[in-house]
Point group: C2
Chain length 254, copies 2
């Protein structure tokens, strides 16, 4: 008996791993977040129940119920797949789920996934690192769970790398204030990717000073740093359309 | 005509994306780094040439030759796959390759991959973020390319999140000195994962103070922060063996 904590990737089903696809096809039951792409759920074994646990960030009782559900299912099924957006160990509280399962004597396999922190920027043509721009990238949540350690945004501003914020739309005024306090220039480029890798993906570029009052909606990934001004991909997964190509040679990816 | 910059993932072929596997099966030619898993190369279309560009970090002339090779191949083939370890835009200079191709009028598709910065720790049971430990993770290279912007290690120490260092074995004395300068405790847990997700994977845990004199070899991923003391997975991809399980219920992943 094993519960598999499986990364669903950033959205588009083509960015699932081979192992994730095989586990979905073999699962006795799948427990998933609300934000999993319908095309990913299409890969679940026909007849296997799919349980939408509709996770909202920061609701600690909900997390306890999810943990209890996983333990209960792990006791009666051979192959339980817990499908989590992006990577199970990049936010999303996969670590807590693994701890609850281990404490109940249930084996856990973690299947890493493509994180939206890297893939959503890539879908907008933005490399989170680049020799001419950034030797580090920090991935941070704008909406930490209750009791989570705080982030020193001013220190982060001084590191000198790219900052990628997940779940940062609601807290963007506070985040921008902290980064400006730390000395990050108001003119620092920002790229906001909404529903990255989905057909409805939207990309907006602006400066750090403009971010607090910009009309952006969740779920979005915020990229802060000079890489955010780049646009290096002619085509990207999921959008079904060509990203702006100044050279006129772009093709649609499929 | 498109050149596809494709993430090969951390090593084990099961962690390739579906799109990467399909592109390898359709490729006219594949250009790859030396460190790609043989099982990944087994997925290349029979008959398609495989060009090993044997990339060594920091050799700028080699990078220029790789860029020129990609442009040349992109002019004569319909489907060129440039296969890069991990994710194309998390170090590895994929951004520069995309720029060279775009400058030559060749369309570029970026296919994100699972980064070893997240997957190697996961294979050792280490979550790079966790509510009780870290609300941020910084991925940094210990071996920046010539001319790349510097990292302020002391500022990084003050951010309060997990630090993951790629290509950090050679520079670990300098890195540890910088983090200690910034106030990180000498007792901070460190986990070193060598050849993560390969059958020969090795995991060693220590403190930050012990890292400079520890016998670790490249390629390794260094995880620095309190998460590094955790071991949450009963089984992990690629090792073919069970990670230590205190509860006696673990299974091998396959």
């Amino acid at each position: 008996v094993t519960v598999h904590l499986v990364g669903a990737g950033p959205g588009h089903p083509d960015l699932l791993t081979l192992r994730a696809a095989r586990l979905l096809a073999a699962a006795d039951v799948v427990v998933h977040d609300r934000l999993v792409h319908p095309g990913v759920l299409d890969l679940v074994r026909p007849g296997a129940p799919r349980i939408d646990v509709g996770k909202d960030a920061g609701d600690s009782h909900l997390q306890e119920r999810i943990n209890a559900t996983l333990v209960e299912l792990g006791r009666v099924h051979d192959c339980v797949v817990r499908l989590k957006g992006g990577d199970p160990f990049v936010f999303g509280r996969g670590g807590e789920e693994a701890e609850a399962l281990r404490a109940a004597g249930i084996a856990v396999e973690v299947v890493p996934g493509v994180s939206s922190a890297v893939a959503a920027p890539a879908a907008a043509g933005v490399p989170v690192t680049h020799r001419d721009h950034a030797s580090a990238v920090t991935i941070v949540t704008g909406h930490p769970a209750a009791g989570a350690p705080p982030i020193d945004w001013a220190a982060l501003a001084r590191v000198g790398g790219t900052v990628v914020v997940l779940m940062g739309v609601g807290g963007r005024r506070r985040i921008v204030a902290g980064l400006l306090d730390g000395g990050l220039a108001a003119s620092t480029p920002v790229c906001v990717i909404t529903r990255g890798t989905y057909a409805s993906q939207e990309v907006v570029r602006m400066t750090l000073a403009e971010l607090p009052d910009a009309g952006v909606e969740a779920p979005s990934v915020l990229v802060i740093g000079s890489v955010a001004a780049l646009d290096l991909a002619s085509a990207s997964i999921g959008t079904g359309a060509v990203v702006a190509d100044h050279l006129g040679t772009a093709e649609v990816a499929r």
